[in-house]
Symmetry: D2
Subunit: 348 residues, 4 copies
């Protein structure tokens, strides 16, 4: 399929981006072309827009960014066998190489050569995005596009939360951004005895509550470690899900963990973190897991199951909607902290 499309482009190695016309991306033999119905903005997109240190090291402009989306497959490469035109799909933005040790042993989510849509190759803040056939997941036809666009961050939360036992346990979620809020919902759905969410913003704590937190902690006013420990019989949370990536949050996450507990780290600390491994990991007999992306397709299937069975509802996370062309307005809104997920519609 050829033609012109509207896309959001980081054109130069500097802050900012522009909305402009570009050719529809070409397809390799095993690629599919997805007509984007809805996309959503991730914190990573703000880093790219802002051209922070990470972006400067990683991004090679010009680049169409954006990696959370759903849409229809409107064209397929000559060698495609897994997907047909017309399929309603969400995009798995992590493209594994398929040949490394991790890919060959069922762990392609930690592929040694991951290429990321909207980071290393053209993304989905556009009318069309081309991805390998192995990177689209068929959605239930009746899933709203706003929910379809959130499968990537929801998958992060499902992967993190269900990476160990939950039923009957006290779960603390550190950082109540969109993924943290998803994790709250998943932990509740999976039978946590109590879900405690922390953050420093009232907007997010309210959302965490709406997503099912039994208790929320404003870490800017309360001692999050003390509150969690007290709520958990003085012993600390059985499971801590670190979603903030903030050094303070990370440090608190380690300290609020019960002996023998599980700490799953998803938030990305931008700098090294100083840890008291003796007290917070070793004597505790703790298990600390690094979580990256989503298991392909284990996590996606779990995610669909939770949504289909109405164990989790993602719609409260969709706080705002914009046409794609107004993305800069949308990003400004996100920076105020008073939004969770903003959905963009390339169709306008």
């Amino acid at each position: 399929m050829t033609g012109i499309m509207t896309a959001v482009v980081k054109e130069a190695p500097a802050p900012g981006s522009v909305v402009r016309e570009l050719p529809i991306p070409p397809l390799g033999p095993r690629d599919v072309l997805v007509k984007v119905r809805a996309a959503s903005i991730c914190g990573t997109d703000l880093h790219i827009e802002d051209w922070d240190g990470w972006a400067q090291r990683r991004i090679r402009p010009p680049l169409v960014f954006g990696h959370e989306c759903c849409g229809e497959v409107v064209a397929i490469g000559s060698g495609v066998t897994l997907v047909a035109e017309g399929a309603y799909v969400s995009v798995e933005g992590h493209i594994p190489d398929g040949t490394c040790y991790q890919c060959r042993t069922g762990n392609s989510h930690i592929c040694e050569n991951l290429e990321i849509v909207g980071v290393d190759r053209p993304g989905c803040f556009a009318e069309y995005v081309a991805v390998p056939e192995g990177n689209v997941f068929a959605l239930d036809p009746d899933m709203p596009p706003e929910v379809g666009a959130l499968q990537d961050p929801f998958g992060n939360a499902v992967h993190t939360t269900l990476a160990g036992e939950i039923a009957g346990l006290v779960v603390a979620v550190v950082g109540s951004g969109p993924i943290g809020c998803c994790a709250v919902a998943v932990a509740r759905a999976a039978g946590a005895r109590m879900v405690i969410a922390t953050d420093v913003r009232a907007f997010r704590l309210e959302l965490a509550q709406r997503m099912g937190a039994d208790r929320v902690v404003d870490a800017s006013r309360e001692d999050a470690v003390a509150v969690v420990c007290a709520a958990a019989d003085g012993a600390g949370a059985d499971v801590v899900l670190e979603m903030s990536g903030h050094p303070t949050g990370v440090a608190q996450a380690f300290r609020m963990l019960r002996r023998g507990g599980r700490l799953s780290l998803l938030g990305i600390p931008p700098t090294p973190v100083s840890l008291d491994l003796a007290e917070d990991v070793i004597f505790k007999g703790a298990t600390v897991q690094g979580i990256n992306g989503r298991r392909i397709w284990q996590t996606w299937i779990q995610a669909q199951a939770l949504l289909r069975a109405r164990k989790v509802d993602l719609m409260p996370l969709v706080t705002h909607k914009f046409p794609l062309a107004k993305i800069h307005e949308a990003m400004a809104l996100l920076r105020t902290g008073d939004a969770a997920k903003v959905i963009l519609y390339p169709g306008g």
Copy 2:
């Protein structure tokens, strides 16, 4: 503590039992005396009453039977350190020897020399029962005694259901007796995508539905295997919990299991079962677990968590209540099939 109490006694190696006066049982140095507030009747008790083949081989009359109960600790042996008088407790009826390989490695629930309350030693269909201090579990003071008495069968269900993943999966419960109904509730609380319960009695299927089954199957009229497979995308249930012990149910359980699935066996088949291991286990890559009793105290703590957080409500299972002296009336009622758990009150 000395004195006389009322108890239900299997006096002779023959069907039947009598309600009579007996001395309050003496305490060893590490035993505690529990004043029974509520007890409940298990299928095992009916086998003892009926003097079936199993009972003839195992039971040595005279014996006070019954093993599901809760009550207060009213006296403790001289060497007791773990429990104080006045504690409100439920009884773990499996008494491990504490010295075998299993006991020494955290698996006392499968102790090589298990002694069972009400089977191998005096039980709880009495005003008082004596058990080792290591066999009582402190309950929340506000737990109703009817629920406290059900901790043993509820624990069976918690142990069986949570012996593997549940969240997002299709769970089939074969046999909707009281433990099956508990398993339905636990699977639902732990985030199963769908819980399907089978039985051949309408009363039980209604109860399973009330406990949270998404779908019930009357296996006397419907093809349970076909229904479960159809409900699970044609592939079979991810998790099957066998609670019937009936040869037909067991055979169905193996057949309705998905490739790569988990089958946990709790129901006790009275006779050998013929199995197509090739098709139903090996080619499937299935995992089959034998489940015995409850993990001490892991399961109990999980059970309390689910109840305390109101993830599971056991009260619908309590269909009838009798004074202990009317136990024969209660057992007759159970045999009609139109009762789930019958609670007995030694206090009248």
Copy 3:
């Protein structure tokens, strides 16, 4: 590549097979052509030759059979990206569909639509065999072809043995055919406290001993269950690996298992087996695993590691060698019971 090759063909739905000339198989776009350097004969091949009940139900003549082999890739399809011509490879004979739930969740070894080389499509008792690029595994260049040809059965043993803990445990291997003997070696390499092998043939027991069994049991003369239990402190083996598929062996495997132990079933019982699930699984709290094929590629990588590090030596299993054209002589030898693996050389 076109031309004529020599192959072993089951030509008609009846016992027997012939060695004849056939066209070299054509390649699909993602297939590779392997020039077979060495092949080996599996029990399955004898079933096909004999035209037993299973073969009658499954095989559609004419068929080139055989599925254990290694060789060089001499041609590749137009869409092949994972393998290059010249690669020295062994063939994974189980071809997963790549699209079912199992394939999508890292369990393609139990794919819902497995197609098997030499069973459902042309096999490797030929000069050339065509398989999907995803079904060849690159071998170390210095691996002898006799060992390369054994990767399929060796992989079965690795998969079965390492499907749970081994170090420090008592491991019983029931059935000391080639895969059983491999399992003996793997269990020993993985630090089993003791490896006990059973069989009814002296030849096999001697081989098991050579492969590292600490104790062998002639089950035709000794009570295998009693011997294993006695050797394991009276309690039974911690791990039992069932490799015989014989009803007697299977029954013994269940009985010789320790409480809390693991029983992994690989041998295929031809008929249903009657089991005392109460005593042998449920009260024991046993875990019974069905094992099918090899994890792709997890098992293969483990297998290479064990061979490369010289933890296991497969050469003692290679008891005989024949040119491919003498396959009927080779099969006759296998039937005597005085051979383990017979290697066939299509090159003569």
Copy 4:
């Protein structure tokens, strides 16, 4: 049993200790008195002798220290049921409270109220030591006392090494002190594809080699991370066992770990460590385990199995022997770095 014994006592809150006469310790009702046949010196003992920061915070003089020993039970308390006089035992120095959540769920090795022999209560650098009956483990009668005395540190190594898969994997041991050397031997026994040991002292590296390391790395001269990664196909070790507790070693341990790998931390860093969690844990999808003590009695039983089956030989670690009275000479020797385990004989 009453009387006088020789013991090593930290008498005052200051560096040093004295050898003097003390009363034989009294027994509580569930205690046993062990006549120490052999004891060994741990790094912790040097900290106590030196009166470093940790010791100042933790130790309350006067204290008989030492916690690694074996000997005979020569007296038992009135309530003891698990052990008889005359038993040849090794001491588990971690005394769990038996009542906390961890103790009640099979994890008493991370008891919330651990009391440690020779740290919080009188230790084994004495002719006699009193411990709870639940803290002695019966040894094979033919185990040399030098080996019996090493069960505590050997157990640390067994616990750490076998806390995940080993067979067929590349294992790096960071820090080749006595426990590191034990871990080398355990990893080798459990079928590691390759065991690489690091240290900065030639004496220890030679010992690691003798205990079975395939490759040793002098981290003072070589880039340990680079060497390990290169040895492991460029990808890093599958399993890293951190035994040094040194900040440099810990940092290297995180960096040399493969994606998806397991890092088990046993060495105790004396100060906080700065970690790049993003690169070294999160993107890697790593699992980091804190390891404390030994599983009671799972680890002990595994340890006995490995020794009894001659999979591991601890005698090379016993580099020196002294009568207890010459402990200061022994400690001086240890400080030179040219000794591994020094055995002390209270009997002279």
